[in-house]
Amino acid sequence: MSEAIDYKVIGTRPIRPDGVDKVTGRAQFGADLNLPNMLYGRVLRSPHAHARLTRVDVSKALEMEGVYAAISRADFPENPSDLGKNIMARDKVLYHGHAVAAVAAKSLICAEAALALIETSYEVLSPVLSLDEAMADDATLLDDECFTKNLPETPDKPSNIAAVMTLSRGDVEEGFEQADVIVEGDYNIPMAHQGYIEPHACIANINESGQGSVWTCTQGHFEFRALTAKVLGMNVADLKFIASEIGGGFGGKTTIYLEPLAVLLSQQARRPVKMMMTREEVFRASGPAAGTHCKIKVGARNDGTITAAKAWLAYEAGAFAGAPMGPGAMAVFAPYDLENFHVEAFDVLVNKPKVAAYRAPGAPQSMHAMESALDELARKLDMDPLDLRMKNAASEGTQAPYGPKFPAIGLKECLEAAKVHPNYTSPVPEGAGRGVAVGFWFNVGMQSSAEVHINENGTVTIIEGNPDIGGSRASMCLMAAETLGVPYEQIRAVVGDTESTGFSNVTGGSRTTFATGMAVIQACEDIIGQCKSRAAATWGVDEDQVEWEDGQAIPSPGVNADVKPLTLADIAGNAAKTGGPLLGRASLNAQGAGASFSVNMTDLKVDRETGKVDVLSFTAIQDAGTAIHPAYVEGQMQGGAAQGLGWALNEEYIYDKDGVLENAGFLDYRIPVASDLPMIDTQIIEVPNPRHPYGVRGVGETPIVAPLAAAANAIRDATGVRINDLPLSPPNILAQLDNA
């Protein structure tokens, strides 16, 4: 591990700058703004999972008193993209809950009543609800124009398989021949929802020329602006998108649903229009995580060396192409140094909502399969499961399955920490089982902008473009404080709208602290350069004779100048005389995001009478690179653990034979509650990312990956029965124990 660097404020745990507004109810989330003269918009949704939409007529709704606008497919530009068709159904509805029309009225009650006056006709088709059905040769097709992409030869007939991909190295068959032991498994992971507590909500206020603003809860207002403009054929420069506070996203708020509807309704009504999804709409018509079918085969020598690994991964895309097969395929073997592997992955259309990103999209599914298979392999080899992973673990210089060689990574450090952790060395509690698993996520860089303003009293205002979804304002302030050498308390971070700061990609991919942080650091360095130049001018010395230390300009050692150091406040106070206000800027396309690995372990107890699982302990160990604000790093690890455990133990989309989601509410789609969980132990490993000034990797996504297999492996340990399909809910466990 690299030597610890002695930071002044990085690694401390100050109170977040937006905290008071969030504990007093002042913080404004998506639905928390009302505008004068505002209308409420509601959406009419398809009652069928698969049908031709033969007629939709909103004229009677428009005639109702109190209704000011009504829209359907006729109001949208022709030749829609898949996104456009998902926003508003055109010739077909492709899932139960697909939008077919929308109205804006003086009240929610009135808008709801108006929906009943919209006339529709459907020619109902049989729904395609499983991967097996969808991939069958004689499958009913969702889209007659969908020809499988990436096949060696262009297919001559359409298919529900939108795309395939393969990834391989070496010779797997030869690798399996070298193996002393081979394990194979077939795993199903259900469609699950991010379950953010805040439903999607927005307000659009658009004038007669198509100019105006949209207030929305989003993980990225710049990208929402681009997507909305594209769907509606509008000019991005005419639209100002303002990010509200965001009540959770986990990837689910990286794409648009309501925004184009609100814009069109507002334009038609010439009044502001507010739209809010109900919780039921969130479940039925936003973007859950792909249900997945995975087949894994792994072979190893008696000493534990993996000689070959093979994966077959089919991901449900939902109604339109775009399942996370790519990241799922690239992640499945990423923790291991393999000579021979082969991965085949499929992006498959089914009559369910179009999937969206959910924290490490694709990886929890494929890695659940691999990490479960490795657990079986360890059992067959009679080897400690951590030792098996250590034997094959990737480290600096290992060529990742997806191409590049890993720079410094922390997988081995996480495994070492796990091996000596008291929750691993202690005996397994009576009647319980213990499971371990490894997690991984790539993390990304992408584009970010930041400005740093030095106020006239020397305090600092950061303006950046990434919605703060879990404390990023605090980490921006910490990195700025470290760079500038001024106290954290003198710094404020603001999330600017699309007109008040430069472009930034979404808050996603675990990129914000890494990439936007890098922009903030560079903007602070810009400020330091300006301050040195102002000090040099003040002192009548050359710029290279000035240094910046502890938040002040000082003469370089040996410079013969009888001057007092100038603080940021001194320089800012005198700025009018030295060249005007101090404004630092940076924009970048961040390279060098560092992969983050984790090891999770859990002790679970299974009630054999009821099938209920109790979580006795959970331990998350993860390489964060450098933890800028450790409390929020732990929070990511703990939150990801809870989501992963929810997916492992309870959460699933349950459909009836007609394709109607049967559990579209928090009562029946049960996410973990406080009484379901113990304290979640965390251990942050810090192997700094060499490509970030402070070593940041990004931590948000890796935490959800390992809990699925860790839980399944613990239940295997507790019961002696391997249950391959998730969730490990009471009915599933009872059935599998009965079968065993």
């Binding site: 109810g25 507590i197 009540g247 809870a642």
Partner: protein, 159 residues
């Protein structure tokens, strides 16, 4: 349908409002009275984001009708902080980093107030079961439980 006139006390202030008979207290608090601190997560009583106190009793404001607020004393998140500043529960949530996105936080704070008003020294299991009606998707609850424990300690110290 004609609207009904209701008088209740919200955070100690007498408030009159008109509502439709079918409107929930949550909808009136938010859309009519501008008390946006009370959040909507589900409107079906499953998430607790809209928790308020009605005559000191913890309820989901989406599950009671606005007309039922007649003559009642309602406490919302906006009424938790005192004249001296933040309530110790709010302060402890900040110090323990017990929030990430913050949408569930008002409901958790109101529910915690109701708990500690009744039971100033709850054990971890009691806290977990009391808060089982409040969903948080970000934190895994660990830091929330610690904040509640910290608030109980702080309040005992002040008493």
């Amino acid at each position: 349908m004609s609207k009904v006139q209701i008088t209740s006390s919200i955070n100690g202030e007498s408030v009159e409002f008109l509502c439709e008979p079918q409107q929930s207290l949550m909808e009136i608090l938010r859309e009519e009275l501008g008390r946006m601190g009370t959040k909507e997560g589900c409107a079906t009583g499953d998430c607790g984001a809209c928790s308020v106190l009605v005559d000191s009793r913890l309820v989901c404001s989406c599950l009671i009708l606005a007309v039922e607020a007649e003559g009642k004393e309602i406490t919302t998140i906006e009424g938790i902080a005192g004249e001296d500043g933040l309530h110790p529960i709010q302060q402890q949530f900040l110090e323990h980093a017990a929030l990430q996105c913050g949408i569930c936080t008002p409901g958790f704070i109101v529910a915690t107030k109701a708990l500690l008003d009744r039971n100033p020294d709850p054990d971890e299991e009691t806290i977990r079961y009391w808060l089982a009606g409040n969903l948080c998707r970000c934190t895994g609850y660990d830091k929330i439980i610690r904040a509640v424990q910290g608030a109980a300690k702080e309040l005992a110290h002040q008493a």
